[in-house]
């Protein structure tokens, strides 16, 4: 059974107004005026960079290119296209030496460990440059990957603010297209580029187009799994996705603190980050 197409179209002007307003507000009230973005050459980080420039001005955005030896040349070319189109400052810092210093100690290290190390080395460089540039790290994770846990904790998931975190991948694509991201970046298969030939959809086993519609029903519309099956999604697909969402909850919350006192951070010591501003 085929399911009815679920329309995830967003209003571009409204999304843009809220997201640029968010970036500007949350960076300036923290006492900063600048932003740093890790550019992978892919769609998500390109969009974060475009939005940061729209919010803060090109002179206030630093784009980082952090290739590993296995990164594809296209990744660097596409990142360069974004840097040139926006006129932002940029720095290229290859991470091979840093990552390999650890990777080479363990000859049998699997791809997941290696990928995590690359993502976390990039995080270290991002936060170091954020201090050097006096800007905040702007994140690039979208709602689909956050829900699926398709991200490295304290790696690419780390940022000060994340303007894309409530947009599904297909919506990132809509906004990216409207905001003028080069078509070649929009059209290429999404990849974490951690090893040769890796693609998100190949690794996940389903397409973003398909899973975004299911997640929208499960998360936004509060469909029960059986309602999704009734709506035409296969039982196996619904179960696989539900399982992923559940299994990766740990990536979406702060580390657990064991409560001992009457007032504990995270449970009953409750303040927004914008406290006093």
């Amino acid at each position: 059974m085929e399911h009815k197409k679920i329309d995830l179209t967003i209003n571009i002007d409204t999304a843009r107004q809220i997201l640029t307003g968010f970036i500007h507000s949350e960076i300036t009230r923290a006492g900063f005026s600048r932003a740093v973005v890790n550019l992978s050459g892919g769609l998500d980080s390109s969009l974060s960079c475009y939005l940061a420039v729209e919010a803060l001005g090109a002179e206030n955005v630093l784009a980082l290119c952090l290739p590993y030896k296995s990164s594809t040349p296209e990744a660097s070319e596409h990142a360069k296209m974004v840097i040139e189109a926006l006129g932002v400052q940029s720095l290229t810092i290859p991470i091979t030496d840093m990552a390999d210093a650890l990777i080479n100690r363990f000859p049998d290290m699997n791809r997941v460990r290696q990928g995590n190390i690359m993502a976390r080395v990039r995080m270290i460089v991002l936060y170091d440059q954020s201090e050097a540039f006096r800007g905040l790290a702007v994140g690039t994770g979208n709602k689909t990957e956050i829900l699926l846990g398709y991200t490295t904790l304290y790696g690419d998931a780390a940022s000060a603010i994340n303007p894309l975190g409530d947009l599904y991948k297909t919506q990132v694509r809509q906004l990216g297209k409207a905001i003028g991201i080069p078509q070649v970046i929009i059209d290429k298969p999404p990849t974490a580029d951690l090893w040769l030939g890796q693609t998100d959809e190949g690794e996940l086993g389903f397409t973003y187009d398909e899973v975004d519609q299911l997640l929208y029903l499960l998360v936004d519309q509060r469909y029960r799994p059986e309602d999704c099956v009734e709506a035409g999604f296969t039982e196996n697909f619904v179960r696989t996705v539900m399982e992923r969402v559940k299994r990766n909850q740990f990536k979406r919350i702060m580390p657990l603190i064991a409560k001992l006192t009457n007032r504990t951070v995270g449970y009953d010591f409750l303040y927004l980050r914008d406290w006093g501003t």
Partner: protein, 286 residues
């Protein structure tokens, strides 16, 4: 009779009452210079919205002895105003409150009666529930104040209508949510629809002052409105932008609309009471 009403669609500093007070006084001055006779600030305009554990630290008492209310009451000699604040009563319960100030006096205080505690909201955890919905006299006629969730329920506006309110002053700090194809967020469209409906159903003026800005990842959408007793839009502030908008309201429209459409005259209040008695009585027996 005409009323020049100012919608003060502002952003606020979270937990910084001093800075927010300065902004209030500045806007009050600007509104007055523009000829406004009444200025309406949004919900919790003196404190910011997501206060959580800051609640006890930002509470004030609406009186002349209070350092925040003293300058506001002074300013109210020239212009009536509605301000949003955290009210601490003498038993140290904290309320989301709105005060109507006029001619140096506190005319009315409304305590928010419906505290949303679901979804992204957690008001019931930090605040006490108000337990009165009352219309009150002003120099512009009978007025009723409600705060955000209060008017997501149909009964408080209805009670105010029966209690004599012809001018409804609604205040919000409404987080924007529900981005779809349309330019207006779902939350904005919902509020606009019901406010227009209240104006039409109660043949009254419905004023809505909503805030803008961000608190962490929450956006507040603004879009403050005034609807007349025909349900027609009198004025509207833009979404998401700080705005001070002064509009003239022709209060004589009440006469004209109700001459044409006597919904208030024909309202069967005794029937409502009898049926409510029956319905609530039934529920008790269950």
């Amino acid at each position: 009779m005409k009323l020049n009403l100012a919608l003060a669609q502002i952003n606020t500093h979270l937990g910084d009452v001093t800075t927010n007070l300065e902004k209030h006084l500045e806007l009050i001055q600007r509104a007055q210079a523009a000829g406004a006779e009444l200025i309406v600030f949004p919900e919790l305009s003196l404190t910011g919205y997501c206060l959580q554990d800051l609640v006890p630290n930002v509470a004030h008492h609406a009186s002349e002895d209070d350092p925040v209310f003293r300058p506001l009451l002074e300013a109210s000699q020239q212009i009536d105003m509605v301000v949003g604040f955290v009210d601490e009563d003498h038993r140290h319960r904290f309320y989301i409150a709105a005060a109507y100030l006029s001619k140096g006096k506190v005319v009315h205080i409304h305590h928010k009666a419906y505290l949303p505690t679901y979804g992204l909201f957690d008001e019931g955890r930090f605040f006490a529930w108000g337990d009165e919905v009352r219309a009150f006299d002003t120099r512009f006629g009978q007025v009723g104040i409600l705060i955000c969730e209060d008017f997501w329920h149909a009964s408080p506006p209805y009670l105010l209508w029966l209690d004599g309110a012809d001018l409804f002053l609604f205040t919000s700090a409404s987080p924007g949510r529900g981005l779809g194809k349309q330019p207006a967020l779902e939350s904005a469209r919902w509020v606009e629809d019901i406010n227009r409906a209240y104006a039409s159903l109660f043949t009254s003026f419905v004023v809505h002052s909503n805030r803008v800005g961000f608190e962490d990842g929450l956006n507040f959408w603004g879009g403050s409105t005034i609807y007349d007793p025909n349900g027609e839009l009198v004025s509207k502030c833009p979404y998401h932008e700080e705005t001070l908008l002064v509009s003239e309201i022709d209060l004589n429209q009440l006469h004209r609309t109700r001459a044409r459409l006597p919904l208030l005259r024909d309202e069967r209040t005794a029937l409502t009471r009898d049926e409510l008695d029956r319905i609530l009585g039934c529920n008790q027996r269950k």
